[in-house]
Symmetry: D2
């Protein structure tokens, strides 16, 4: 039984972490912090938790957090890099669901997040928490940068072909569709139902923080220079990311070889599901579950289209964080992540 | 470990049963039948099940079903009453999620369902599977009539006041709002998204099959004659029932006494959650969970409004069926029903 | 050609007024004010207006507004009562889409809106802008209180039976379902899509500002004392109100007599559509149109259920305001209000 | 005043045609046919039409249709090509909203629609009803092939750059998102709300009938050979298409030159709205309106992303058909198409 805490527990990532941690047999969730809501019960905030926990939010307090085995940060960028060094020094492991340790280059971090990196000394040691690509690094780390939701769907979708060296790397495109929970639990006019329901709209076409994250990870994992056009779109749905990925083959490859590349790459992965050739995965098939479902198409020779879906709050955030926790503490990787997606 | 089967596994109630049964530690799901889809794998039909089961649909076959401990019927009315007698005779217990055993009066059944009842001999012995009202009957029965979704929300909402003898019983009103999954997994024009999204519409205002079910159960449980206006409405959402219940007190009752009536009545119930006085429960607070959340209001002296929400597929169908199964087999009542509602 | 202005043009009521006024052949929209957005073009704010107007928001300025024939207030309560007296004094007519002139009793206004009424001298002369009940008063007034959205649906639905003296008046119930645009264009956490989609929830069950408005108007129009339980619910849709109205007859009345009561009462009304007996009107059948569709049921002798639907932004706000404008200026009452509802 | 008819008036394209034609000052809609619903009133079928028309569906009857000036076909493919020759011979003009005359090559038609073309003699003379590209051809034709919804959004979005010769033509991609009304008014399981709401899913990635239509029109309009990957996705919304178009420049082009290319190309077009550089158009900004809004991005040198949105039932079907009708009969091109989009 490990003792864990969450810094920043009032957002969607936070409540999803709570939901999953309360169901994990090896975890005792002891602390959930929120400056704004300190003293209030979690269940008052998130009525789905009524009857499942009596925890109350408390002020973030390093002295108390230092007594834990693991702290999750479900905070906006900038918080984790301020608090993590002291926790690590005290022997606490850290999984940051925010963006502070995803970009290895401090200059890039500052460019995209508008903030100088305050913990560059530990930036290098942070593992990138995508177990399917970096399992051993994660196991051996004490600080995990949990991937962004879009990057999870895109990287898992493109990695096998890049690793196999089959792609032209100058024309990758990720056209991504996300549910509105991906924009967070914030009172923004652009997110109210009367503005977003029955509507589809792109955003950040000319530049989005997840592009450098995707590019840098794919460069590292494939050993190739590459460029990707990343196009996020806001969908009138709550959960789910659908990534439609376009790439061109650098040589003639049969459909069966393409399919086999994915099947073999992910054969041992409990949380990646390669669908039969030519399928069209639905985001609802992963709602609430820690799984990425992938399907591959070659509509014309040389043109590959990969479809990759996840629940942005589970495999794209809290579920993947639990998967990383399981690796850090040598629990079975699937522990606490068994629930089946909710359909319909 | 008990061995169970599902007759009729291609609807929403069926897939929800499968989802929950696969997570139940004392159950082995062995047979799921479907005439139309015999031979096909469940996971091909319901992609959320991929990786969780290798079961295939099979033709309903009494010889095979007779070997089980328990059979669930997730079928349209008329099927269970034909097959149940033979299963019961073979010692198999039966939980019917359809309507065949909910109305004790065969004439009423024929009136509302347009079909003569073919198993009147076992109709009398069927327990009504609402554990909060009929727990002991259920425990001692071999045939359980699982309640309708609307009746579950309405009966749990009105029962405490009726039992306490506090209501005028000639003016009960249940204004109910249901997600579209309540209409089943059927290809009907009136259910397609372009007809139902961004729309609210009542149906069956002048008469609906759930009215006699609610009335007869409330009469029995309260020992009072009563009449209820039942008004169902179709909502542009997938899951959830919101029952807004109107009743008039037959004497002056303080708010605190009303609240206490509910709190005490349901104090020991693991799946009924009485909210603080004057709350407004949200259907999303129960999405995917086997719970009914209830709040009480007295806007003007004598006028009571009770709000009651459930997930129509869980506490309103498959979850309640598992709860009944737990009672039938002396498992802890909450076993397999721990999952927290999915929010957002 | 009359010259009109809108004070407060950045909300949904405001943009809907602009949409309708731009299509009205006898109107020149000259001024739309907004303190916050002064100087910005309307079309930048509301992209549906691109190509239809070059107007920019301007600061509210009484000197400029005094030169108009008519000013609409699409503002929160409190604004119109401060500015209207001076406009009326200058000969400008005023239609207030806010709540300042709906309640005739200043004490009631102060109770429900938390603000002392600052223009009690003109409160008495304000007509209540529901043409179907108060057409002549409106024609002869210079200040119109445009009804609330819920009151429009409820009053039109209950008035014929009350006027005919057929109802017990102590047990009226209005169970109302509204699209989220009714909550306004405001950045509130409780309105974001991830909180409101796939969800149904009541609010204000114990008391809501529209209840005294409905009650006082129905008392006046029917000449009877009465009490009404008003229960609003937030729906996961953008536009539309569905009012489900419950009343008990004070004598035996045949279905045909009930139907005739409505048909005759509204026979000359261009914007009230009485459906065939026993129908179930859909909110989508009025989306974008200035019409109220009504259907009547008598599920059991003595129990009447009336279903009444409107578009909250059209017949419930901006469309009705144009209808009132047409009356004030002796235009044909339907001018500019011909568009057919958008379905699907 | 011209006399027009609609063959096939029970689908969404049909009802939208009726809505728009009833508001057109130069048109008398005389006949709407439906085999299945003959004798029934349109308003019974589509409640938004109540009070606006007393027309009833009638059996399709060439003798009666021959007396009209214009017949619209809002039918599945295969119907128009059977009936059009006789109508043309009688001097009636024809606008086919189906697919029968969109592909000039009968072999391609047969390949994609699974039907031999039965009117190849008139196929050649059919104009392609996209006025922005083929206005004069349309004016001079008696048979118009109204474009598909996706092709309208994609072609208008890509044409200016292709015409200007700025693109590599071997790597065009159209990632398209469509509301569910695009799938038609049909009782299909895959379209019911419980399957499609809160869900995003691609379909037809490996091949879709609109790809050859787009490719052949763009080849003709640009005089260049080209290939396009077309990827449609089903959105949980009712109306709207969002096309995200990817292309690579064949030379270095400044952002301002790209923007000017669009602004100049569409400067005289009443129904194409070029947004400021770098904008993100929303489908809701065109809901119910006959307009295509377009925005251009160059996220990295050489990589162009064009965003193009339409209402699939208006500019993508019925509205465009009226625009073509206006051309055929020398009416002002915008007549009857003035309504502003419904927002929110």
């Amino acid at each position: 039984m490990i003792r864990v805490g969450i810094v920043g527990g009032t957002g969607y990532t936070g409540v999803e972490l709570v939901r999953l941690l309360l169901g994990h047999p090896k975890v005792r969730l002891e602390i959930v912090t929120s400056r704004a809501e300190a003293g209030q019960s979690l269940a008052d905030h998130f009525p789905n938790l009524r009857g499942h926990t009596t925890l109350c939010y408390e002020e973030p307090n390093l002295a108390r957090l230092r007594g834990l085995d693991l702290v999750f940060f479900a905070t906006p960028h900038g918080v984790a890099m301020d608090m993590a060094p002291e926790l690590l020094a005290a022997g606490v492991r850290v999984i940051d669901l925010g963006a502070d340790f995803r970009l290895k280059d401090p200059a890039s971090y500052e460019h995209w997040y508008g903030l100088a990196h305050s913990a560059t000394d530990i930036l290098a040691e942070a593992s990138y928490g995508l177990p399917e690509l970096f399992r051993e690094e994660i196991r051996n780390s004490r600080l995990v940068a949990n991937p962004g939701c879009y990057p999870t769907a895109v990287i898992l979708g493109l990695h096998p072909l890049l690793q196999a060296g089959l792609l032209h790397t100058d024309s990758l495109i990720a056209d991504c569709k996300s549910g509105a929970s991906g924009a967070g639990r914030t009172a923004r006019l652009g997110l109210i139902l009367a503005e977003t329901a029955d509507n589809v709209q792109a955003y950040g076409i000319s530049g989005h923080r997840h592009r450098p994250e995707i590019e840098s990870v794919l460069r590292r994992s494939s050993g190739q220079e590459l460029e990707l056009q990343f196009s996020p779109h806001l969908m009138p749905m709550i959960r789910g990311i659908h990534a439609t990925l376009y790439a061109r083959l650098n040589r003639s490859v049969a459909d069966t070889e393409l399919q086999d590349t994915y099947v073999h790459r992910y054969a041992q992965e409990p949380f990646v599901d390669v669908l039969p050739w030519g399928s069209h995965p639905a985001t609802r098939s992963v709602r609430g579950a820690n799984v990425c479902r992938i399907a591959i198409h070659q509509p014309r020779p040389g043109q590959v289209v990969v479809l990759s879906v996840i629940d942005n709050l589970v495999k794209g955030a809290a579920g993947q964080a639990l998967q990383n926790m399981n690796l850090l503490f040598d629990f079975p990787e699937t522990l606490g992540l068994e629930p089946i997606a909710l359909l319909p």
